[in-house]
Amino acid sequence: MALLSIKNLSIGYQTKAGMLKAVDNISFELERGRPLGFVGESGCGKTTIGMALMGLLPGNAHILGGTIGFQDQDLTRLNEDQWRRVRGKEIAMIFQAAMNALNPVMRVDEQVIEAIVTHTPDISPDDLGKRINELFDLVEIPRARIKDFPHEYSGGMKQRVIIAMALACNPKLIIADEPTTALDVIVQDQILKEIKAIQKAMNTGLIFISHDIAVVASVCKDICVMYGGQIVEKGTREEVFRNPRHPYTKALLGSYLSLDNELSVVIPDMRETPDLTLESGCCRFAVNCKTCSSACKADTPKWIDISRSHKALCCDETIIRNSHE
C-alpha cells in the first residue's frame, strides 16, 4: 500500500519572466519499506517537490494541477492550519546545511524538546525526558553533550540534531533534501549509515533528494531521475543505474567520477540549461539531447516501459529500446 501517491503534479513559480514550470506533470508512488531517491541537477525541480510535500512552497509558487495523496488526504488542498498538523508530525524534513538552522542561543536539547512539545503539548515531563534520551541515542549523540550549545558541536553532530528533530514526533514520512552535501566525506559516510539504519528501524517512508547519484544509490531502493522539472526515468536502483535508458540518465552516470571508473567516464556535451517556461507536454531535454530527432521537439514524450517497474520518458521509443549497451 503506497504511503504517498503523487499524480500529475505540476508546480509553477510566477516570476517577472513568466510562469516557470519547476515541476511538470510528475507522478510517482512511495512505499514504506523502499526509500525513494530523487536525483537531478540544479533546476530539475527536486527541491520544489520536497517543499511541496511540506507545504513550504514560497508565496509565488502555485500548484498548477495534480494531487498528492497521503493518508487519505490530498496535500495540495490543505490550508495553513491543516498543514501545521501535518508538518513536523506526519511529514518531517531534513534539509541541506541544516546546521545553520539551529538557534545559536538555545541549548540543543531544548530545540528538540520544542519540536516535540509543539505537536504533543500534553506530553508528561517523564515521557518527554525518555523521548529525548531515545532520540539522542538513536542519532548517536552522547547524553553528556545534549545540553551543549550548537556552536560547540561539529558539523556532523549538528546534522544529527536536525535528524533527531525530524524524528521527534515519529513521522510517517521523512524528506531528506541534500542532508549530507555540506559535510565532509567521512562524516557523510556516518550520517548516511545512520539515516539508513533509522529508516529501517522505524519503518518510515523516506524520500532522499540529492544531486549526488552515488549517495542516493547507497540509501535508496527506488530512483526517479529528474531533468528540467520532469521525471525522465524511474525504476529500482539496479535498473536505473545498471541499465540506464534515458539519454540524460546516461549522461549523468557518464559524468560520475568514482575511484575506479576513469575509463568509463563519458563527457557529455550539454551546454544549454533547461527552459522551464516551456509548455507542458514537451520534452525538456530535447535541447541537449544528442539522439533526439526533430520530431522530439514537437511531440509529447510518453512513458516507455522497459520492465514492470522501469520506465523512461521519451518521444521516440526506439531511442529507449536501443540504448542498452
Partner: protein, 272 residues
C-alpha cells in the same frame, strides 16, 4: 623563461601559516590557529597536481599563499628555484603574471558591473600588455579556447546573463589570458553540477596539453583528483600526510587517513 632542470616549477618549503585572533577570528580558539604546519611539496612544469583535503584542512590557504593573497608565517615558496614570498613591486607583478587563480564560486568571482570582455581584459591592461586592438584579439581568442563560442557573442555580455558553467569558463579565460606557467584552481567545480564539472575538467586537461601549464587542483573530492591529476597530496589538519602519483594513492595508500578517505567514497555497491 628557462627552467633549469634541477628546480621544480613551484616549491613549498616548510611553509607554515598561523592566524592570531587579531588577523582572523575563529570562534573556537582564543589562541593562535595553525592553518598550515610545515608544508612541503613541489610541482613540476606542465603537471596537474592535486591537493585533496576536507574543510578546515588548510588546502585553500595553500592556494592563497601560492598566489600571494596571503603571506606565510614562515617557510618559503619558490618559483623555478627563486624564493617569491618576499617579492614586492615589479617583482611581485612579474610573479603574478606567471601564477594565476581560478576561484570556487562562479557567482562571486566575476564583477557584476563589468562585461565579460572587461573582466578578461583586466589582467592584460593591468600588466600593460599590447594595444587595444591586440588585447581585443587576445580576449576573443581566449574565449574560443575556453569554449565560449562564438566569441563575439560573449564579448559584450554580462555575468548575470551566463550560467554557472559559462561563468566558470570566463574565470578560466581570465586565468589563462596572461599565458601563466601555473594556475591554482581552488575547487573550481564544487558549486557546479556533475555534468558541467566533467566538461570543465576536460577543458582544463586540454589547456594543460596545449600550453604545458601546471595546475594545483584543490578539492575535497578524491575521485575528481584521481581523474584529473598526475600526482596527489592528501592534506589533513594542516599537514601533508601523503604525496604520490594518483594511481598509487588510490591503489596503494599508505597513511591511515588516506585509507579512510578511500574507504568512505560512496560507490555503487547496492548493499543494505
Amino acid at each position: 623563461m628557462s627552467n633549469p632542470k634541477k628546480y621544480p616549477l613551484i616549491e613549498m618549503k616548510a611553509v607554515t601559516k598561523e592566524y592570531s585572533p587579531r588577523t582572523r577570528f575563529f570562534s573556537k580558539c582564543q589562541n593562535k590557529v595553525l592553518a598550515l604546519n610545515s608544508i612541503d611539496f613541489s610541482i613540476e612544469k606542465g603537471e596537474i597536481f592535486g591537493l585533496v583535503g576536507q574543510s578546515g584542512s588548510g588546502k585553500t590557504t595553500c592556494g592563497r599563499l601560492l598566489v600571494r593573497l596571503e603571506e606565510p608565517t614562515s617557510g618559503s615558496i619558490c618559483l623555478n628555484g627563486s624564493p617569491v614570498n618576499k617579492l614586492k613591486g615589479v617583482g611581485l607583478k612579474t610573479y603574478r603574471s606567471k601564477v594565476q587563480m581560478i576561484f570556487q564560486d562562479p557567482y562571486q568571482s566575476l564583477n557584476p558591473h563589468l562585461s565579460i570582455a572587461e573582466t578578461i581584459l583586466e589582467p592584460l591592461v593591468v600588466n600593460g600588455l599590447g594595444t587595444a586592438a591586440t588585447r581585443r584579439e587576445k580576449v576573443l581568442h581566449t574565449l574560443e579556447i575556453v569554449g565560449l563560442s562564438p566569441a563575439d557573442d560573449f564579448y559584450d555580455r554580462y555575468p548575470h546573463q551566463l550560467s554557472g558553467g559559462q561563468r566558470q569558463r570566463v574565470a578560466i579565460a581570465r586565468a589563462i589570458v596572461l599565458d601563466p606557467d601555473f594556475i591554482v584552481a581552488d575547487e573550481p567545480t564544487s558549486m557546479l553540477d556533475a555534468t558541467i564539472a566533467i566538461q570543465l575538467f576536460q577543458l582544463l586537461t586540454q589547456i594543460r596539453k596545449r600550453f604545458d601549464m601546471a595546475f594545483l587542483f584543490i578539492t575535497h573530492n578524491l575521485a575528481a583528483a584521481n581523474y584529473l591529476c598526475d600526482r596527489i597530496a592528501v592534506i589533513h589538519e594542516g599537514h601533508i600526510v601523503e604525496v604520490n602519483t594518483a594511481n598509487n594513492i588510490i591503489q596503494h595508500p599508505e597513511h591511515p587517513y588516506t585509507k579512510r578517505l578511500i574507504q568512505v567514497q560512496p560507490g555503487f555497491d547496492f548493499n543494505g
